[in-house]
């Protein structure tokens, strides 16, 4: 549905996007991930025909963004980072205008407007002035605007930024419910966002593509070993952490045991397995046979956070992580 090849976008002095290629299949939700200033918004603006690429091609629904931009624009719904709203218009009036602008027949407009209002849960504010709405409502009106003409492709630039936790969950659900009919690209710098709503991830950093894969594949690829958090207590008497530790180290498949915390009768450890081994069952058995209580046994998740840091760090081998963070801070300050 979307095919990007060798896309490059240069501004006066800076290269915002550098030779990016990727493909998105019909009906997929793809997360576009990267720190602030990585080039996410620029890529999206090229896809929506707002900016022409400096080099390379982008193809949406079979049409080139440069040569057949009108056809692309008909098939794309776009929610920019700041929702494009006219503060002095009423919600209904605004959506009617957008519907006409997107080329809906005037007879269909009221029906479509009602539909998207229901879908985005903004029916109750339809007669209100946009300027008086809260941030959450504005974001939803922005989303309603993007899906109004039922486009094949939806491009959402940080759709959940500035929302409260409840609204974030609602928005995520809404986006997930849109998948299937629509191909969705959403950008974010919040990693859990991608874990929650996307099937595939495209990670970019400093304008370059770092990785693209399914969420599970990425996790598997980077996960060498398994980590388990274990909390052990002695039913009677005191617990000797050193003894427990020794016992855990003897379990087959365990490569490393780290003592995390000791509270009078409890000990917490983090146990790491050897490459490709599952150790949870063995650890549990060992603890129980030793006569201790197993209070907790929990796999320590290998989050996208770690993947992201690993990927972006390996991208610039040799530079220290601190420098990296410093750069990100600067990039944030710029934005």
């Amino acid at each position: 549905m979307i095919k990007v090849e060798g896309l490059t976008k240069r501004y006066a002095r800076t290269v915002a996007v550098d030779d990016i290629s990727f493909e998105v299949q019909k009906g997929q939700i793809v997360g576009f991930l990267g720190p602030n200033g990585a080039g996410k918004t620029t890529t999206m603006r090229v896809l929506t025909c707002f900016l022409p690429p400096t080099a390379g091609t982008a193809n949406v629904a079979g049409f080139d963004v440069l040569e057949q931009s009108l056809e692309v624009k008909k098939r794309i719904g776009y929610l920019p980072e700041t929702p494009p709203l006219y503060p002095d218009m009423e919600v209904g009036e605004y959506l009617t205008f957008v519907g006409r602008l997107k080329g809906l027949a005037s007879a269909d407009v009221p029906k479509r407007v009602n539909e998207v209002c229901d879908r985005c849960a903004i029916s109750d504010v339809k007669a209100k002035i946009i300027g008086k709405l809260s941030k959450g409502y504005r974001q939803r009106v922005g989303l309603a605007q993007a899906i109004l003409h039922n486009p094949d492709v939806l491009v959402l630039d940080e759709p959940t930024s500035g929302l409260d936790p409840k609204q974030i969950i609602e928005t995520r659900e809404l986006i997930r419910s849109l998948a299937g009919d629509h191909t969705i690209i959403l950008s974010t710098h919040i990693l859990s966002e991608v874990e929650h709503s996307c099937e595939r991830v495209i990670i970019i950093n400093q304008g370059r593509l770092v990785a693209q894969d399914t969420v599970t594949n990425l996790t598997n690829r980077l996960r060498g070993s398994e980590s388990v958090a274990v909390e052990i207590a002695a039913p009677t008497g005191d617990l000797n952490p050193a003894e427990v530790r020794q016992r855990l180290e003897q379990v087959t498949g365990v490569s490393r045991v780290v003592l995390k915390d000791t509270k009078d009768k409890h000990c917490s450890f983090e146990v790491e397995s050897m490459q490709g081994r599952s150790i949870r069952a063995e650890v549990a058995r060992a603890v129980v046979t030793a006569g201790w209580d197993l209070n907790e046994l929990r796999p320590v998740g290998f989050s996208l956070e770690d993947i992201f840091l690993q990927l972006t760090a390996s991208e610039k081998a040799g530079t220290k992580v601190e420098e990296k963070k410093e750069e990100e801070k600067q990039a944030e300050a710029k934005v």
Binding site: F50, P84, V98, L101
Partner: protein, 255 residues
């Protein structure tokens, strides 16, 4: 064409949904009302003086009242036009709604035309207020209506060309104040350019004074439609809208 109408309706609505339109209508009504009052008082006074001197010369309302009034209206227009156009693009650029317009299946030219037409209609309705004053003349006298219509045609053409320039300037900045200020400066320049003809008769001065929008309005105020002036205004409108469209296009490349 359909898209032009969509933009046109939306822009016109937002003029009248905000205080802008009413403010401009009020400003024009007050200032034009004052001019009208002065012009008619002067006319009446002159008429009385003539009678006292015993010379019952016929006095022409068109010549002594309406013509100067129309010229004054064109000058008031110069001041109002920057306030009409300054927001058209600058506001969209500041609030980010330009992204909505430019990612919708609409041509840049259609957006420009829609916005220009809405500005023109607002300008025309502002001028329409002066109709109330002129109606009073018709109630008490018998002015010739044809030169008045020609005068209004001239006002609309002149307004259209300044509005086109104003929109062009509005595309170049995010700041409405800058857009308004620059438009006002350009409008004023195009007005006073014809002053050079007062002290200079060289070819250079003729070219400069030809560029003045006021020079071309004079025949209209007399009730004369000169193709030369119509073509001047139409080509200025065309040129202004052309520049606007190119400027909007270049936003993509420069952004």
């Amino acid at each position: 064409m359909r898209n032009v109408l969509v933009i046109f309706k939306k822009e016109l609505k937002s003029y009248f949904a905000s205080p802008i339109a009413y403010l401009l209508l009020a400003i024009f009504a007050v200032i034009f009302g004052f001019f009208f009052y002065s012009a008619t008082r002067f006319f009446v006074l002159q008429g009385m003086q003539m009678q006292m001197m015993g010379r019952g010369m016929p006095m022409d309302v068109n010549e002594y009242v309406i013509r100067p009034l129309l010229t004054n209206a064109s000058v008031i227009g110069l001041f109002l036009i920057p306030m009409i156009t300054m927001r058209l693009y600058a506001e969209e650029k500041r609030s980010g709604t330009i992204e909505l317009l430019m990612t919708s299946p609409v041509r840049d030219l259609e957006i420009v035309l829609g916005k220009w037409l809405s500005a023109l209609v607002l300008y025309a309705s502002i001028l329409g207020i002066s109709g109330i004053n002129l109606a009073i003349l018709f109630a008490f006298g018998r002015p010739d209506w044809k030169p008045i219509l020609v005068g209004y045609l001239g006002l609309i053409l002149q307004g259209g060309c300044l509005l086109a320039i104003g929109i062009f300037i509005s595309t170049m900045t995010k700041n409405q104040i800058i857009a308004g200020g620059a438009t006002f400066a350009v409008c004023l320049m195009l007005w006073v350019l014809d002053w050079v003809s007062a002290y200079d008769q060289s070819a250079w001065a003729k070219v400069v004074s030809y560029l003045s929008v006021v020079t071309h309005f004079e025949p209209f105020s007399k009730g004369v439609i000169d193709t030369k002036d119509v073509i001047f205004y139409l080509s200025m409108i065309f040129f202004g809208l052309f520049l606007t469209t190119r400027s909007v296009e270049s936003l993509r490349w420069r952004a």
